[in-house]
């Protein structure tokens, strides 16, 4: 199946789902309208041979990353003259649509058709949760935990939504763009 054929099938079943404005290069990328569509869409994909959920992740679209999230002196360079700006400081790029939102990314793969569908879903940064896909795909288990740990997105119905990568004493979710490091017992 080519990407266009897959998209035509998706359109026939879910007319509200459209192609993403910014696609992932070379892959079919669709954008879901609301979290309510997620489970029915995934269920339909699973039934139509897309039985492997490869990736669950998200991007924080808030803006350039806050340098306070990095523990050490940024880009320490002993050859830099006193008072000079370090080589890299996160800076906003003019014209990029930053917004306070989380952009979730799901990658479905069909072993028989050898095709991929990238599904994007934008949600608010605070107070919104997404339905968990663990009842449909077991592979969602740890990846949703990782997304929760690093980005602070809550997945409703996840059987065991606890931290997975960061230590218990880490305050906040490191991949949020406004994450600021809180000193812990390993800082001097």
């Amino acid at each position: 199946m080519t990407n266009d054929e897959i998209f035509a099938k998706i359109q026939a079943k879910f007319p509200k789902i459209e192609k993403a404005a910014v696609p992932v290069k070379d892959y079919l990328t669709v954008r879901l309208a609301s979290p309510a569509d997620l489970v029915s869409f995934s269920q339909w994909l699973k039934d139509s041979s897309f039985d492997m959920l490869e990736t669950v992740t998200a991007t924080d679209l808030l803006g350039p990353v806050d340098m306070k999230g990095f523990i050490r002196q940024q880009n320490f360079n002993p050859f830099l003259p006193e008072g000079a700006t370090p080589q890299i400081e996160a800076a906003a790029t003019a014209g990029y649509p930053y917004k306070p939102a989380m952009d979730l990314l799901y990658v479905f793969y069909s072993v028989t058709e050898k095709a991929r569908v990238f599904a994007r879903l934008e949600i608010a940064r605070e107070g919104v949760s997404v339905p968990s896909l663990v009842p449909l795909f077991k592979s969602a288990d740890w990846q949703e935990r990782e997304t929760f740990d690093l980005l602070g997105i809550r997945f409703d119905g996840h059987p065991n939504l606890i931290k997975i990568l960061t230590p218990d004493f880490t305050v906040g979710h490191p991949l949020r763009k406004d994450y600021a490091h809180v000193k812990d017992r390993f800082d001097e």
């Binding site: 892959y27 492997m52 991007t59 350039p64 890299i88 996160a90 790029t93 592979s139 230590p167 490191p174």
Partner: protein
């Protein structure tokens, strides 16, 4: 006295009850190949509950990438799967090249293929040796490391590093392969081919080894897909999925090789897939050396500090442990706006919590070893 009586009575009763015991496997257990802790609740020899605990090696590479430029990020990639770092370099470069609209030269592509396949051989040799040790066979380890040293020596000869290469760069590779290096690699290939038969006599068909692994830790094809396993773990269950065939990169479609498949999805099948893959890797290396195109090893037009236009890209390769993918998003700045690693070890390990339940304690090591994880990639 009455206590003793009741104890004697209890021992003859059919529904003999014993207390459950909690034990920690790791994080310093030699068979976990790194810092993995599994909290096991056992009833006698049988596992009732298993809780894998990861994150001991979490270094936050996805966060670090947000304040580094694209060339810097290649250095970070070496530290995920540190026993096979070439595919890590490659997958990041492929994703960034897609984003920047750069293509590697034909010679660079061929060199990338040679390096990745050599690294696969080195990585699978490490698996072969340590899996033998896990199951009580010490000798194969010595043989495997003898050959692995040769591969690492070849890597050291070309790029100066034995594990963290940083050899594959945006737009090409770091240095060209000299005729001397290619000759030495050809010699290694000739030397290595008969060694594979030696391994089979040492371990593959060893009755004790087969008794420990065959029929143990069976993962059916349906389960494997449900857990989104990849690499030899998926193919051991008989699912024919290899990124080199389904989504070819670096000209893999021009090489003639087979994808070894397992039958039942037991530990032995996963092991056998890896050992057979080494043969195929050797075939690919031979073909790549034979038809190595001439020309530049680095494509022109890669900026010193690249600033790709806003966009998103995804690239994935068949790394030694499975389908390694990188999702990159750029906001037009000099650093990736978001980098996500689809790490095969992390995803393969997730099935442990369910698969271990009901197994015997000694089989934990057999299953864990056969999944072949590298904790650097699990925790990133």
């Amino acid at each position: 006295m009455s206590n003793m009586m009741s104890a004697a009575d209890a021992s003859t009763m059919p529904e003999l009850k014993s207390d459950q015991l909690f034990i920690n496997l790791g994080p310093q257990h030699p068979s976990t190949h790194g810092v993995l802790r599994i909290g096991l609740t056992i009833n006698g020899e049988v596992i009732v509950k298993a809780v894998p605990d990861i994150g001991y090696l979490h270094r936050g590479t996805e966060k670090l990438a947000e304040v580094r430029n694209y060339h810097h990020c290649v250095v970070l990639t070496d530290r995920w799967d540190y026993v096979s770092a070439m595919p890590n370099n490659l997958v990041f470069c492929l994703a960034a090249e897609k984003l920047m609209g750069v293509k590697a030269t034909p010679r660079a592509d061929a060199l990338r293929v040679i390096m990745c396949e050599m690294n696969r051989v080195a990585s699978h040799l490490l698996f072969f040796g340590t899996y033998g040790i896990d199951l009580g066979a010490y000798t194969p380890f010595l043989y495997a490391f003898r050959e692995r040293e040769m591969v690492l020596d070849l890597f050291e000869m070309i790029c100066g590093a034995r594990l963290t290469y940083n050899y594959i760069r945006l737009g090409g590779v770091m240095v060209d392969a000299s005729p001397e290096w290619l000759a030495r690699t050809g010699e290694f290939v000739e030397y290595f081919k008969p060694r594979l038969d030696e391994y089979d006599t040492l371990l593959t068909y060893n009755p004790i080894f087969m008794a420990r692994t065959e029929g143990v830790g069976i993962v059916t094809a349906k389960e494997a897909v449900d857990w989104a396993l990849s690499g030899p773990n998926l193919r051991g269950s008989g699912v024919n999925h290899d990124v080199r065939k389904t989504d070819p990169y670096c000209g893999y479609e021009n090489y003639d090789f087979d994808v070894p498949l397992g039958k039942t999805g037991s530990c032995w099948d996963r092991y056998f897939c890896r050992v057979s893959e080494m043969r195929q890797s050797i075939r690919i290396i031979e073909q790549a050396i034979a038809k190595l195109p001439a020309g530049p090893f680095m494509s022109p037009g890669v900026a010193k500090i690249p600033k790709p236009a806003p966009g998103e890209s995804y690239a994935h390769v068949e790394a030694s442990r499975g389908d390694l993918g990188i999702y990159l998003a750029s906001d037009g700045g000099i650093s990736p706006f978001r980098m996500h690693v689809h790490a095969p070890s992390f995803i393969n390990l997730a099935m442990l919590q369910e698969k271990l339940v009901g197994m015997k304690v000694s089989d934990v090591i057999a299953l864990l070893g056969s999944i072949d994880i590298v904790l650097g990639e699990v925790d990133r």
